[in-house]
């Protein structure tokens, strides 16, 4: 973590968007942005790479489908190929219409849950996790930009941030 950080607090999302663009324009390094709600387009303005979580979900869905097919093929066709109400149990495909509901459900089940778990792991969210937003107002109606201030003139930066409309500017030193 940078040894010197500046916390600039904004009270409006439009102002924040504008400020983030200006800060990026001035080539300061934005370490983090905390907002109370999703500000659309902010991730692009900050320059974040798109998330790949949807791709993982697709892969997990394939896993679910595979599990369903292998499970039902083994249990219904390989292990106990019985005659239940005249349903054909010689090959998987012969009785596949009856397997489709569960194939579908397991695909959704795996895709949904494993993606959510991935999200929780990647974003480091779990029941006993301590919240890390530096100012509690950022979950209510304030927006905070955390900027790396090491190797910069703090006064000049402060003046610059003030001009972007920051309501509060704080210097944080980590030793």
């Amino acid at each position: 973590m940078a040894s010197k950080l500046i916390h600039a607090i904004y009270s409006d999302d439009d102002l924040l968007m504008q400020a983030v663009k200006q800060i990026k324009g001035a080539h300061y390094h934005i370490a983090e942005v905390y907002t109370p709600f999703p500000v659309h387009g902010l991730d692009k303005a900050v320059g974040l790479a798109p998330t790949r979580i949807a791709i993982t979900s697709f892969l997990y869905g394939l896993v679910g489908l595979t599990v369903a097919v292998l499970m039902m093929d083994f249990m219904m066709i390989q292990d106990w190929p019985q005659n239940i109400g005249g349903k054909p149990s010689f090959h998987f495909y012969e009785n596949m219409p009856a397997f489709i509901p569960i194939m579908f459900e397991l695909t959704v089940f795996f895709a949904a849950h494993l993606m959510v778990i991935t999200f929780y792991m990647r974003s480091k969210l779990w029941p006993f996790k301590k919240p890390e937003n530096p100012d509690i107002r950022t979950t209510d109606d304030h927006f905070m930009v955390e900027i790396d201030a090491s190797n910069h003139n703090v006064d000049k930066m402060t003046k610059f941030l003030y001009d972007t409309g920051a309501a509060e500017i704080k210097l944080i030193e980590n030793n």
Partner: protein
């Protein structure tokens, strides 16, 4: 900023001059406050109903299914009726949060949280019935394909009842994580507002350490979107699978290919009716009329019209096909002349009236924007949809292929008791939820505030679409000073128009309050020390010397004045005077003062 532009034809979704902070405060209010008396009354009733139902369940399981009104012909009646009814109710929640998200409907934001809660709680109720209607529920775990000591004896994957197990458990668990993930930012908001350490601890635990980083939000939105994309086919599949319980059978009236879409439409129909029932009460009880507006109610009524129409078309189709098939057995199915005139005619006509005829009234704009009428229609639809399932199950079973096994069904008190118990349990959960969870997704409502909030729509109407939405005075608010603007406005010292018996300058905060004070004094009369004598106000209940002094400050000296005070005056005094006694403590000052002034 033009990014907040919205067509002026659209009505605002958030009424009142709301800022982001107002949204937080109003949504956190029911959680931070204490439950009132009516909450406790309703909660107790629900709890009693739940316990009664629990008793009935224990009685059933320990004595046997024979305590229900089932017979050899009719093996499914109230149990599966209630199961399908509850599952159906749950569907609106997912529809609102998932399907409407895919369609980018902004109005869902105010209702999705509660609709999702309703889903979860309704599916929990539904989930009870597949267990308790078993003859040997302690062997219920045999429905799971677990390796075992019987040579690994598996389940039969051909049965829709097994598909139900997978469908319902997937539906419940996916709905739960969808709901919970959406709750994280809102729990975080409550956590950061909490002042009591215990509350802080609980909401820290519940919010999973949510910090609102930009990356978190990016992932959060993607996860929500993908979950919505998964939940939409899920919600269609779950009720489809439930309908397979009937549609894949050979029973006349059950064996029907129209069931899957028709059941789903019916589920959304009944689900929205239940959402209306709950939200109409909730908006009133927790003061969220600014978020759940008449517009929301109208939109939901439009969905009810649509799905009700689909269901009606399905009724007509069933009726037609029953006749068109030429099969004599179809004449005793739940939608046939046989049903309309047979022993269950009342159930048939209840279905037609409640689901077909009454909802047609919502085509009238005045009626679908009428809150009372909406509530009545919603209750009628809930009843009607119960009858729909009852008819499908019981009427079709009662007159099967063999006349020698024709039978009638009548429920016992245990059947009814279990159903009442689930209603009680549902409300126990919902009432607890309404007091501990943020009932509106505040993080989502805040994203539409600038495009759909009344304040900003007015701004655009007055100053054109290119007007800036930036809060003009960003520096005014310090952490602790989140007070209403009109209260912090400074007092003008050089205002000459002020009664000289009033020394309110020290306590009034704004011009508005001063004006209200003057208005009050002109109504109750101004005290003139030359001609009048001040009464001993400490004779009033809860008035001590200090409060008397304060009352003098605002110009109240005589009992005559106090006797003329009105409710709004008390509100004003409450604002002006520190630790002004509440209505209970001051009891009836007006009556006391009327008595004292005549002495």
């Amino acid at each position: 900023m033009s990014s907040h532009y919205e067509a002026p034809i659209r009505e605002p979704l958030v009424t009142g001059d709301k800022s982001y902070h107002d949204v937080s405060v109003e949504i956190a209010a029911p959680i931070e406050g204490r439950a009132n008396k009516s909450w406790w009354i309703v909660f107790s009733i629900a709890l009693v109903a739940f316990l009664w139902g629990l008793g009935c369940i224990i009685y059933t399981v320990s004595t046997g299914i024979g305590v229900w009104g089932l017979n050899k012909t009719i093996g499914w009646a109230w149990d599966i009726t209630n199961f399908v009814w509850w599952v159906g109710i749950g569907h609106a929640g997912t529809l609102i949060s998932a399907v409407l998200l895919l369609f980018r409907q902004k109005w869902r934001m105010a209702v999705n949280r509660s609709a999702e809660a309703m889903t979860i709680f309704a599916v929990v109720q539904a989930g009870l019935f597949p267990i308790i209607h078993m003859g040997r529920p302690w062997l219920a775990y045999w429905v799971l394909p677990i390796p075992n000591q019987f040579g690994s004896l598996w389940v039969n994957f051909n049965s829709p009842l097994l598909w139900d197990v997978f469908a319902i458990s997937t539906y419940l668990s996916v709905s739960l994580v969808f709901w919970w993930t959406g709750l994280l930012p809102d729990f975080a908001m409550i956590r950061d507002r909490a002042t009591k350490p215990f509350q802080k601890k609980i909401y820290t635990l519940l919010s999973f350490g949510w910090s609102g980083r930009v990356k978190d939000w990016q992932r959060f939105e993607e996860v929500s979107l993908v979950l919505a994309g998964l939940a939409t086919p899920l919600v269609l599949s779950v009720h489809t699978i439930v309908s397979f319980d009937f549609a894949t059978s050979v029973v006349p009236g059950w064996h029907s290919t129209i069931f899957p879409p028709y059941f789903v439409a019916g589920a959304i129909f009944s689900g929205f009716a239940m959402v209306q029932t709950l939200l109409l009460i909730m908006r009133k009880v927790v003061n969220l009329e600014d978020y759940i507006t008449v517009l929301h109610i109208e939109y939901m009524n439009k969905v009810i019209i649509l799905t009700g129409g689909i269901v009606s078309v399905a009724y007509i189709t069933e009726f037609f096909i029953g006749w068109y098939s030429g099969s004599p057995y179809e004449n005793y199915t739940y939608l046939s002349w046989g049903a309309a005139t047979g022993p269950y005619w009342w159930a048939f006509w209840a279905l037609i009236t409640c689901n077909f005829i009454v909802p047609l009234s919502l085509w009238v704009k005045k009626l679908r924007r009428n809150i009372m009428w909406t509530f009545v229609v919603a209750l009628i639809i809930n009843t009607g949809m119960w009858f729909e399932r009852f008819n499908i199950i019981v009427v079709d079973l009662s007159h099967g292929r063999t006349p020698s096994s024709w039978a009638m069904f009548s429920p016992t008190f245990v059947d009814i008791g279990v159903f009442i118990g689930t209603i009680g349990f549902f409300f126990v959960l919902f009432l607890l939820y309404a007091r501990t969870f943020p009932v509106i997704a505040q993080a989502e409502v805040k994203t539409i505030l600038k495009s759909s909030g009344e304040k900003y729509k007015k701004l655009r109407a007055e100053h054109g679409d290119e007007v800036s939405h930036v809060d003009s005075d960003p520096t005014a608010k310090e952490p602790a000073s989140n007070i209403r603007e009109d209260l912090t406005e400074q007092f003008d010292e050089e205002n000459p128009e002020h009664e000289d018996t009033v020394n309110a300058d020290a306590i009034t905060l704004s011009e508005v309050q001063k004006e209200r004070l003057d208005e009050m004094l002109s109504r109750v009369g101004v005290y003139d020390p030359k001609t009048q004598e001040a009464g001993d106000l400490t004779k009033l209940k809860a008035v001590g010397p200090l409060l008397q002094q304060r009352l003098h400050q605002v110009g109240l000296y005589t009992f005559d004045q106090v006797s003329k005070l009105e409710e709004r005056d008390f509100e004003l005094l409450n604002e002006l005077i520190d630790r002004f006694p509440n209505a209970e403590k001051r009891e009836d000052w007006v009556a006391q003062a009327t008595k004292l002034k005549n002495k």
